[in-house]
């Protein structure tokens, strides 16, 4: 029992659980959902889960945020001593990039959802798939 207590108190464990839950729910939303809007939400959750994992990669135990705060300290050696204890700034920058990309893609998906709803009046993916095939069929046989 002691081992389990330790694991449940570990932050690491909960970060993993949260990110896995987000990823799995997101994949469920994209793959199994029939509703277009839920697919977009699923995409958001999936990307959030992946981003958590990415930013987690930069964390160091007992390290500080990657910002030099002793600005008055002009001794370069002191600054270097401070920066040596900082967390990895690269994943933070990468996650910043990934978040902005995800925001753009999701906005684009939402605008497509709006257009599709205005055209067909439904957001059921099965109905829409059939409608797409029917449109294709019509355009093939009507082009005279």
């Amino acid at each position: 029992m002691m081992i389990w207590d330790d694991i449940f108190l570990e932050v690491d464990f909960w970060i993993n659980i949260v990110s896995i839950a987000l990823i799995v729910i997101g994949i469920y939303g994209i793959v199994f959902s029939q509703h277009l809007l839920r697919m977009v939400f699923g995409l958001g959750l999936l990307e959030a889960g992946v981003n958590i994992l990415l930013v987690k990669a930069g964390y160091q135990k007992e390290a500080i945020a990657p910002i030099v705060t002793q600005a008055s300290d002009t001794m370069m050696s002191n600054i270097l001593a401070a920066t040596a204890q900082m967390v990895d700034p690269v994943p933070q920058a990468m996650v910043l990039t990934a978040i902005v990309i995800a925001a753009g893609v999701q906005a684009l998906a939402l605008s497509l959802v709006i257009r599709i709803y205005k055209k067909y009046g439904t957001l059921d993916s099965h109905v829409l798939f059939l409608a797409m095939e029917r449109d294709r069929h019509l355009s093939l046989n009507q082009k005279d």
Binding site: I20, I27, I67, V68, M76, V100, V105
Partner: protein, 227 residues
């Protein structure tokens, strides 16, 4: 039946993911590049915020690419939703006196806050993206409170074009001077002061304006779909 296969698939997926992810113990990543960057960033860029140094100097091209992606998304949304500069929208009423007044009070505060975040990006947490998002929120707040206050697409378009061009031109100047694209230039100044870190604050300013215009554009396109 289908429900059970779904549940089975998702359970399997969770277990696989758990097995892959668990060995990534928090706080024990090797940090090969991170250590090198931590050791040399202050010398190389003069920025107190090392994340800014990474975003704008070490991985500046990523930032340019991400700017371009946001621009692409805004352009594509413009095409898909058919943006038009409508002078009046009659259909949606204003949100009421209290909200409208609060928006007007908040608007200048938000502008100042956004500019603060952008301009101090190389010193404190924050920067162009965060500040740009606040900037867009400020303008969008006005639209939300009073739908007559549309964000002018022509204006945002010009800002967006100029800011994007400024970012690239700042990179091209260093290309012309030193033969390297997006190398930090200008004097590094004193670490921790507002006018330091060379060209990085200028890059962040361009970035912030671009992101702000872009997001404002994007939000207003989504909000004003032709009825």
């Amino acid at each position: 039946m289908q429900r059970w296969t779904t549940i089975l698939f998702l359970t399997g997926l969770s277990i696989v993911l758990f097995a892959i992810i668990t060995p990534l113990v928090l706080g024990q990543s090797p940090m090969l590049v991170g250590k090198l960057i931590n050791a040399s960033a202050v010398n190389d860029t003069g920025a107190a915020n090392l994340v800014t140094a990474v975003v704008l100097a070490y991985r500046g091209l990523d930032t340019l690419g991400e700017l371009a992606i946001l621009f692409t998304a805004a352009t594509a949304i413009g095409i898909i939703l058919g943006t038009t500069d409508k002078t009046q929208t009659t259909s949606s009423p204003t949100a009421g006196f209290i909200v409208a007044t609060a928006a007007k009070v908040l608007f200048p505060l938000l502008l100042v806050f956004a500019l603060y975040i952008i301009l101090h990006g190389h010193l404190t947490p924050g920067g162009g993206f965060q500040g740009g998002a606040v900037l867009a929120a400020a303008f969008f707040l006005l639209t939300l409170a009073d739908s007559g206050n549309n964000i002018k697409h022509k204006v945002t378009q010009v800002i967006e074009a100029l800011a994007g061009t400024a970012f690239i031109v700042l990179g091209l100047v260093s290309f012309a001077l030193q033969g390297v694209f997006l190398q930090p230039w200008l004097d590094k100044g004193e670490l921790g002061s507002l006018f330091s870190a060379g060209s990085l604050p200028l890059l962040y300013l361009a970035l912030g304006l671009k992101v702000g215009a872009e997001l404002a554009n994007l939000l207003s396109s989504l909000a004003n779909v032709e009825k």
